[in-house]
C-alpha cells in the first residue's frame, strides 16, 4: 500500500516536470508579448511526429535526434512569429485569439491529412525499460524525460537571469516602451520568445515520444494542462510554471490513485478554479 503510494507520487513528480516544460514556452510567449498561443499543444504534436519519423525513416533514437529537432522547432517558432503573429501584434485581443486558434485547427488538420488519425508509437528507444529505485519501479523513459525537462528548464532560467539577451526579454515583458528606449528591438525579442517557446515545447514533445502515443490530437490534453499550469503558476512567470507543473502532475496522479483515474482531470481543473478564486494572479504572478 505504502509502496504503491510512493510509486504514484514518483510518477506524478516525473510527469509534472514534463508538464512544466510544456508550460514554460506558453508562459514565456505570453509574458513577453501578451499573446496566448492556443496552438501550443500542436507544436508538441509536431515535434512528436518529427521524433517518430526520424526514428522510422533514419533509425535515429529520439535522444539522438533531440538536438536537431530542437533547432528545427526553434526555426518553426521564428517562422510562425513572422508569418502569423507579427501582423496581429497591435490587433484587438479577439483577433489574436482567432489567429492562434486558427493555427491550432490548421496544424491539426495538416497532421490528420498527412498521417491519418492512427496512433503511433516508437517501439523501443535508448530510454526504454524500468529501473528499481529503493523498491519503487520507475519507467526509464519517464525518468529521462523528467531529467531532460529539469536540465532544459535550468538552461532557460540561467539564460534569462544571466545573459544580456535574457535581461532584454525580461525588460520587454515588463515594459515594452521603456525597453525600446534602451535600444532593444522588441520585434526581435518577440521572435526570440517564439523561437525559445516553441523549441522548449519541442523538447518536451521528443521526450514524451519515448513513452507516449503520437497522434494528431495529442496536443489537446497537454495544452489544456499547460493552461492550468500557466494560470496556477502566474501568467508570464517562468519560475511559477515550473512549480505549478509539479503540483499539477502530483494532483493528477494522486487523485487518480485515491479516487479514480477517469476523474483525474476533474481534480486538476478543480485546482485551477480554486486558484482563480483564491489567488487570481497565480502563485508567482504579479
Amino acid at each position: 500500500m505504502e509502496g504503491v503510494l510512493a510509486q504514484t507520487l514518483a510518477s506524478g513528480l516525473l510527469i509534472g516536470f514534463v508538464y512544466a516544460l510544456v508550460a514554460v514556452g506558453l508562459t514565456m510567449i505570453f509574458g513577453v508579448m501578451d499573446i496566448v498561443n492556443f496552438a501550443h499543444g500542436e507544436y508538441l504534436m509536431i515535434s512528436m511526429y518529427f521524433s517518430y519519423w526520424f526514428f522510422i525513416l533514419f533509425g535515429m533514437d529520439p535522444l539522438y535526434s533531440l538536438p536537431a529537432i530542437t533547432l528545427i522547432m526553434f526555426g518553426i517558432g521564428i517562422i510562425t512569429y513572422y508569418i502569423a503573429i507579427r501582423p496581429i501584434i497591435n490587433a484587438p485581443m479577439l483577433s489574436q485569439i482567432f489567429v492562434t486558434f486558427g493555427l491550432l485547427i490548421f496544424l491539426r488538420g495538416v497532421a490528420q491529412f498527412l498521417w491519418k488519425v492512427d496512433y503511433r508509437m516508437i517501439p523501443e528507444t535508448l530510454a526504454s525499460g524500468n529501473i528499481n529505485l529503493a523498491g519503487i519501479y520507475i519507467g526509464r523513459p519517464q525518468l529521462v524525460a523528467a531529467v531532460g525537462a529539469i536540465l532544459c528548464y535550468g538552461v532557460i532560467l540561467w539564460f534569462l537571469k544571466n545573459t544580456k539577451t535574457g535581461m532584454a526579454l525580461e525588460a520587454v515583458a515588463e515594459d515594452k516602451e521603456a525597453a525600446r528606449l534602451m535600444g532593444i528591438n522588441s520585434n526581435r525579442m518577440f521572435a526570440l520568445s517564439w523561437g525559445i517557446g516553441i523549441a522548449t515545447v519541442g523538447i518536451a514533445g521528443v521526450l514524451l515520444s519515448t513513452f507516449f502515443y503520437v497522434f494528431p490530437e495529442v496536443g489537446g490534453a497537454f495544452c489544456l494542462i499547460a493552461f492550468v499550469v500557466v494560470a496556477l503558476g502566474g501568467f508570464g512567470s517562468v519560475v511559477g510554471a515550473f512549480l505549478a507543473g509539479i503540483i499539477v502532475g502530483l494532483v493528477e496522479v494522486v487523485s487518480g490513485y485515491l479516487i479514480d483515474p477517469s476523474f483525474k482531470f476533474m481534480f486538476v481543473l478543480a485546482l485551477y478554479l480554486a486558484v482563480v478564486f483564491i489567488r487570481p494572479q497565480g502563485l508567482m504572478g504579479k
Partner: protein
C-alpha cells in the same frame, strides 16, 4: 544640435502638437514648461522616436531623424528618461542600469559608465542588488536618470525629473542635472515645477495647448507676465 521644425504630433487622428519649432544647442539646458496636458511629454516622445511626427521634421546633429525608430535613435546619442520613470520594476537596480547600456558589450566600458552613475548617485551602489520597485521615489528617479546616462548620450531628455519625489530632493536632482551638463551632456527637460526648471535652464519654451507661446532665456521667461500670472500665481 537638435532642431525641431514645425512638427505636428497625433494620437490616432487627434493632433495634440501643432506647428512646434524649437532648437537645443550643444551644452545647453533647455526647458519646456507648461501645465499638465499641454503636450510637453508628447514633444519629448516625438524627439525620442516613440511618436512619429505627421508633419514637420526633427533633426539631430544635422541628420534627419523624423522617421527613425526609438531603438535606433538611442544609438545616435539621444536618451529619454520617460515620464513616470518607467523602470523595470522586478529587475535589480544593477540590471536596470545594465539595460541602459544595452547597445554596448564592452565590459570595461560598461563598468566605467556604471562607476560614473554611482559617483553621482552613491546610494545606488548600496542598493544595486535591490529590486527597482522597492526603492523610494527619489531613488527610483536616480535609477531612471542613471539608466538614461548608461547609453552615454550626447542629448539627455528628462521628462519631469521632479515628479513624485520629496521636495528637499528636488533641489538635489536639479543640482545633479547641472553637474551632468557640466560633464558635457546637453539637456532638454520638461517640467511642471516651472520655477525650478526656469532657474536651472539656459533657455526655455512655454508650451500651451500644443503650441509654443513664448521663448527666451530662463530668467526672462521666469520674469514674464505670462509665467508670473499663469503659473506662479503672483
Amino acid at each position: 544640435m537638435l532642431n525641431v521644425e514645425k512638427i505636428q504630433l497625433k494620437y490616432g487622428n487627434i493632433p495634440v502638437i501643432h506647428d512646434v519649432t524649437f532648437r537645443v544647442e550643444k551644452g545647453e539646458i533647455v526647458a519646456l514648461v507648461g501645465g499638465n496636458g499641454n503636450g510637453k511629454s508628447s514633444i519629448l516622445r516625438g524627439v525620442a522616436g516613440l511618436l512619429t511626427p505627421s508633419l514637420g521634421t526633427v533633426s539631430f546633429e544635422g541628420r534627419d531623424i523624423t522617421k527613425t525608430q526609438a531603438f535606433d535613435i538611442v544609438s545616435l546619442g539621444i536618451s529619454l528618461v520617460p515620464e513616470g520613470r518607467r523602470l523595470f520594476p522586478s529587475l535589480s537596480v544593477y540590471k536596470n542600469l545594465r539595460l541602459g547600456a544595452y547597445l554596448t558589450d564592452d565590459g570595461k566600458e560598461i563598468e566605467k559608465r556604471m562607476d560614473y552613475v554611482y559617483s553621482i548617485f552613491p546610494t545606488l551602489k548600496e542598493r544595486k542588488d535591490q529590486r527597482a520597485s522597492t526603492l523610494s521615489g527619489g531613488e527610483q528617479q536616480m535609477v531612471a536618470i542613471g539608466r538614461g546616462l548608461m547609453s552615454q548620450p550626447k542629448l539627455l531628455l528628462l521628462d519631469e525629473p521632479s515628479w513624485g519625489i520629496a521636495p528637499k530632493l528636488v533641489d538635489k536632482i536639479f543640482e545633479v542635472i547641472r553637474e551632468i551638463r557640466n560633464n558635457g551632456v546637453t539637456i532638454l527637460l520638461v517640467e511642471q515645477d516651472v520655477q525650478e526648471a526656469l532657474e536651472a535652464c539656459d533657455r526655455a519654451y512655454v508650451i500651451q495647448t500644443g503650441r509654443v507661446v513664448m521663448e527666451g532665456t530662463g530668467r526672462d521667461v521666469l520674469n514674464s507676465e505670462l509665467i508670473q500670472k499663469a503659473f506662479l500665481g503672483l
